[in-house]
Amino acid sequence: MESMQGILIGLSSAASPTNLLFCFIGVALGTAVGVLPGLGPTATISLLLPITFKMEPATAVIMLAGIYYGAMYGGSITSILIRVPGEAASVITCIDGYEMARQGRAGKALGISAFASFIAGIISVFGMALVGPLLASASYHFGPVEISALVVLGLIMVVMISSQSSLRALAMVALGLLLSTVGQDFVTGGERFTFGIDTLIDGLGVAVLAIGLFGISEILVLAAERKEQRTIIASPTNMRELLPDRNDWRAATGPILRGSILGFFLGLLPGAGALVASFASYVLEKKVAIDPSRFGKGAIEGVAGPEAANNAAAQSAFIPLLSLGIPPNAVMGVVLGALMIQGVAPGPKLVTDRPDIFWGVIASMLFGNLILIILNVPLVRVFVSLLRMPTSLLAPIILLFCTIGAYSANNSMVDVAIAMGCGVIGYGLRRNGFDPVPLLIAFVLGGILEKTVRQALLIGYGSPSIYLNRPIALGLLLAAGAMLCFPLVRKAINRRLSISP
């Protein structure tokens, strides 16, 4: 009943002309960046952050969400047509999607990918509507002590997401926390690490940092590791080519449903996300298939399942962000930054305090998925034409947009210089095995952590033992400790097993 009421609030918010327009812009832009090489959803969302300052919080998140799940579909277009995943989550689609294209079934692969994403998106929305209120009921037990413990758990989970070593990821978390303290201290008013630069008194901007770490560093990576342009092997010429026939539907229905459910639950887990969901779905489909040897040779199930799973996971990833305030990946980290700039603190109280945002974003996904399919089925040729845009033109243009994006954050050229500096640092870190994702998420969560820890210690009269007296906080900290120790314990067990005969 609560969910129904929430969905109605959300529908009325999402169906407003402004929100529909920005949902459309987000989905179209997301599909385009999914197709374009080099510019992922994280960089795009970072670039657009300054534009969202003037928007309503719900409108901003609706547009940013559209970019994220739009990019998931856009990434599959390149996977199918040129065997280059536009997005990490579309890697698995390369296997059977590209094979289908080579066999002259590119249209069917693109079509089933669009329909699978659509169905998964709808299933995911209903799943979110069921899970949301459950988390809302827990919100009354969360004070500064619990929130600070939750942030610590979130930071440890961020380390688990990282593709690089845990030690380096933890170092990036520490650097992110340190950078989050730049600026005026909110209690004493004293300046910290400002080096006499006025712009730094308000702290480093999340938009500027994200533009540098993801946008500019990506251009430098593209410059250093230039790959040759791939040729498009086939492109659908008419609508009928994109529509799967009865046999295709019969083969794909099961994988779509299984992929949607699997993707939804994996998306809820911080660290798992769309990439793991698509791999898990592929493995599952191969396991349940009557003839697994068809996989890798153009099996439609190998496209339908993973595509459904990655879209479902991309959407359900909003649940940990909106209801717990924990971003499960870099994109959600930037979205969290966008919300905080707007003065909205995502977390357990968001569902009850700002239902228009929580339910509005969920309901907008219904419209977004509809727009995605309306946009992608007839306009797939337009998006395919983006693949012909050479990187030699694209990279300088992205750099120009990064410059304008960084400038427009505070209308300051100092921010442009900071973004460029962050870009060079981000490139250096990436080349030497340091993932900037934990850095950005720790930077965004650092402010919340400092504020809540100081409040918690004030409540506990300066004694950290308050964390031991609160069962939820203690549980969260123990979980964080266990997560941190788990890889070490596993390593020790493996070493012992390899030594023992």
């Binding site: 650097l175 303290t181 500019i216 243009i397 030497n432 210690l457």
Partner: protein, 154 residues
């Protein structure tokens, strides 16, 4: 072609992070860690700096990560982009955004991307004019440009 980055570059990065952490710890110690029974301004940066020092220091001894080698052409592209980035930072302040952006784009396109001078000039001018039209005149982003300001009587 993936190969292991030279151990020294990876170790130098870790060492720089370690030094940043150490300097951060010293600076935050001076800010004060504890005051009147509650945390002071320096507590979180001190803890973060200590963590950074320890973790980055330990990362020096990790095996180098796998990465793609940077050849001569890549260095040329990177150098071109470095100059373009510098121009993006100072160009708009010196000669205005229209000329500054065009110059930066021209360097990126001709030096880094090896486009012909004519193509690079044409694209850089088009993109510069287009971006100023869209962002400054349409969206109201006050991109600095003394020439346009004079033209508009501002």
């Amino acid at each position: 072609m993936a190969e292991q980055v030279s151990g020294r570059a990876h170790q130098v990065t870790s060492l720089i992070l370690c030094v940043i952490g150490f300097a951060g710890a010293l600076a935050s110690w001076r800010m004060g860690l504890w005051n009147s029974g509650s945390p002071d301004a320096g507590l979180l940066p001190f803890v973060a700096s200590l963590l950074l020092t320890g973790l980055a220091g330990s990362a020096i001894f990790l095996s180098p990560p796998e990465t793609v080698s940077v050849d001569f052409n890549a260095w040329r592209r990177l150098t071109g982009y470095a100059v373009a980035m510098l121009l993006f930072c100072i160009g708009p302040l010196l000669v205005g955004c229209l000329t500054g952006f065009a110059a930066a784009l021209f360097i990126a396109m001709s030096v880094s991307e090896n486009l012909s001078l004519r193509t690079a000039l044409l694209w850089s001018m088009c993109m510069s004019v287009g971006s100023v039209l869209i962002f400054r005149l349409l969206l109201g982003v006050p991109l600095p440009d003394p020439f346009i300001d004079r033209l508009l009587g501002l």
